[in-house]
Symmetry: C2
């Protein structure tokens, strides 16, 4: 079985907007063993939309439309699907009643135009909208099933999960899709691919996708089988050699981001952490505290952007900054030691570097990053040279710092 | 003239990937006065792809395909377009030569399979790829122009800008599209829309799009006219009443984000800033320092996540925390005053709040945020109650803080 997703709305054809509803729907459909074979975005244009629906229904068993169910004249999904399937639109007074109650609950007055939402395509089942006013519709059409869902993501997700998934589960032949997600820090994508391609290239199933961000690579292995057991066995067959090749560079096997993995390690060991940041300006603290419950291990940090602050707050000796520079091994070490001394944390991470685009010099060109890690045994410093814009370099630097801590704790 | 964009590649049909190339292309096409009327994503499937191209060519003057130009068997764009247009694929040995040179430069050996990239569709012009190996193609087909571009964004963007834009500029009837972007902080989307809808709803041109993020709303007015003068006049006609209605809530008229606007204000006044963050954990510092050159006005900050750090680093009196709580007007004030005292900055911003999802109590439920702003005249504190998840509440809080500073400086 295959599926097509059609996002409706001219606002999705502007340079500012992407359709993200289809990512949720794809994930849900994949979970049932259904592949999405085409996605499209169509503006508020009756003919184009009807044409797209007609073609989708002719070649895929599942067709999902999102958006265009509102009360205004721009909302054409109902009309377009009715035209495509050559069915009438029928007014349902009982839906108007429900809408009126809905508006009363929201303490708003329902205006006449909202009655447009009470039209169902001939033969359609109404899908209740618990989170908004526009009802959805479910239509069986010869070999295909067509769903009309609202555009706002929280309405769409609730309606799909509650009313479409159970219906789809009865229709779709049972198939299992299982995914293994390995995450790797601090390795260039090309090096990683060269290492593991000989393993995964031999297999169409599981399908392998590699997603690379700054200092962070995700390897997705997706197995499609008829039983859980087969899928699990296939993921081991391909995943295990990859895990052996990558070794301790893998920081998570369940999709968790690095800040969560490090947070769990700290929590388990009743250890605490503090940070001192220069070029990352708070990003490291932000990532660590993005994890709910991080107050259990994160004490706090210093954003020592000006050199004076490094001296005053962290006790970095002025002559080290004068002699070695604010971006240097020595400064990173003194920052980490200072942060640990000032907080009494088990570990302290310090980052100093040149994020660019300006500044940087012969000693420390743009992209230079030093990370210091202090604990009871002393302090070690790593140096890296990154390539990219300001955002990427800052991302690289925090990834490098968190991974350095992960490896230290894991020792 | 209208355009359609087709993104090719099965990896774009997974739950992890969105096609973003089309956003760049839409922006470029809009700049020429061309509307994008349909976007689609098609997997590596020859028939579906050929069918999509056939239909696109039959109804739009500009058809752009991205991806599927690589050397492997999955790369089907050349074959699909040839099939759709009923043209032959012709081998060009001179392209192979260029490819061989390219590989030699990259110190890689060209393998036989790369010769697939040397096939051009009958009648196509080759578009050189300065950033990669896959050449693009430009085909004139009766009323339509079809472009085959590579998938990697940096290759696609360079090729489009250098080789497609000049060709399109000769074809597209001259039309001007100008955009006014107003950004507004700290106003719920529904309140804003209620206020300004009576103005913009009267106009189809300029088209109005409202994009809302946590505490940050963008209003895009896009005017399509035959001359610059008409477009400018239209933007004033609609934009000016909107500006009057929103008044000082507008923080930028050119799309600049709030941290840049505040940064420029500080720089112009030779003022400096420091921060003290609790629930935002570094996000405020991160936003301020995301602006290149922020070291001119940003001194540094304290991430006082644990209460003890608020006392030790910022001198928040212990009895204030005990009596009023770490999330309180009094603590926010003491944090801001402390940060200013410890850094000597002109302004100091402090944030304390409950980002959730856990904790929070009767006094300070999840979503409570206090922002303190200290300067030479003393300290003021604002209190807000936000709704949303951890990420949104932290975003709201930093937006509120930056906007509070903007309004203070603008006084």
């Amino acid at each position: 079985m295959t599926a097509e997703i059609i996002a409706v709305g001219s606002e999705l054809l502007t340079p500012q907007r992407v359709d993200t509803n289809s990512l949720f729907l794809t994930d849900q459909l994949n979970g049932l063993g259904v592949e999405v074979v085409t996605k499209s975005v169509i503006g508020d244009d009756l003919n184009r939309l009807a044409d797209a629906v007609r073609r989708a229904v002719s070649r895929s068993e599942i067709v999902i439309l999102c958006g265009g169910l509102g009360p205004t004249e721009d909302d054409l999904t109902r009309d377009a699907v009715a035209a495509a399937l050559d069915r009438k639109l029928i007014y349902h007074p009982e839906i108007t009643e429900v809408l009126e109650q809905r508006f009363a609950q929201l303490k708003r007055k329902m205006v006449e135009v909202n009655k447009r939402q009470a039209f169902l395509i001939e033969g359609a089942e109404m899908l209740p909208n618990e989170r908004g006013t526009a009802p959805g519709q479910w239509i069986a059409e010869s070999d295909a099933h067509v769903m009309l869902l609202p555009g706002p993501p929280h309405e769409m997700k609730a309606m799909f999960t509650r009313h479409c998934l159970p219906r789809l589960a009865r229709i779709v032949p049972r198939q299992v899709i299982r995914t293994l997600v390995l995450r790797v820090a601090g390795m260039p994508e090309s090096d990683l691919d060269q290492l593991i391609a000989p393993v995964y290239k031999k297999y169409d199933n599981p399908a392998t996708t590699i997603l690379a961000a700054a200092g962070d690579i995700q390897i997705h292995l997706r197995a499609r089988c008829s039983t859980e057991g087969e899928a699990a066995a296939l993921l081991v067959e391909v995943g295990w050699p990859i895990e052996l090749l990558l070794g301790e560079r893998i920081y998570s096997r369940n999709g968790q981001p690095l800040e969560e993995v490090v947070g769990e390690m700290l929590r388990e060991r009743h250890s605490t952490l503090s940070v001192a940041e220069s070029c990352t300006g708070g990003l490291l603290g932000e990532r660590i505290t993005s994890v709910a419950g991080s107050s259990a291990y994160f004490l706090g940090g210093f954003i020592t952007y000006a050199s004076r602050m490094k001296v005053e707050w962290l006790g970095v000796p002025e002559d080290i900054i004068a002699r070695c520079g604010a971006v240097s091994k020595e400064t990173a070490e003194a920052m980490a030691m200072g942060a640990r001394r000032r907080t009494g944390s088990t570990y302290a991470l310090a980052i100093t570097g040149v994020a660019g685009p300006d500044a940087g010099g012969e000693k420390a060109p743009v992209g230079t990053v030093y990370v210091g890690l202090a604990d009871a045994t002393g302090c070690s410093v790593l140096h890296r040279q990154f390539i990219g814009d300001r955002t990427r370099i800052r991302q690289f630097a925090t990834q490098m710092a968190l991974d350095m801590l992960r490896r230290r704790i894991a020792l």
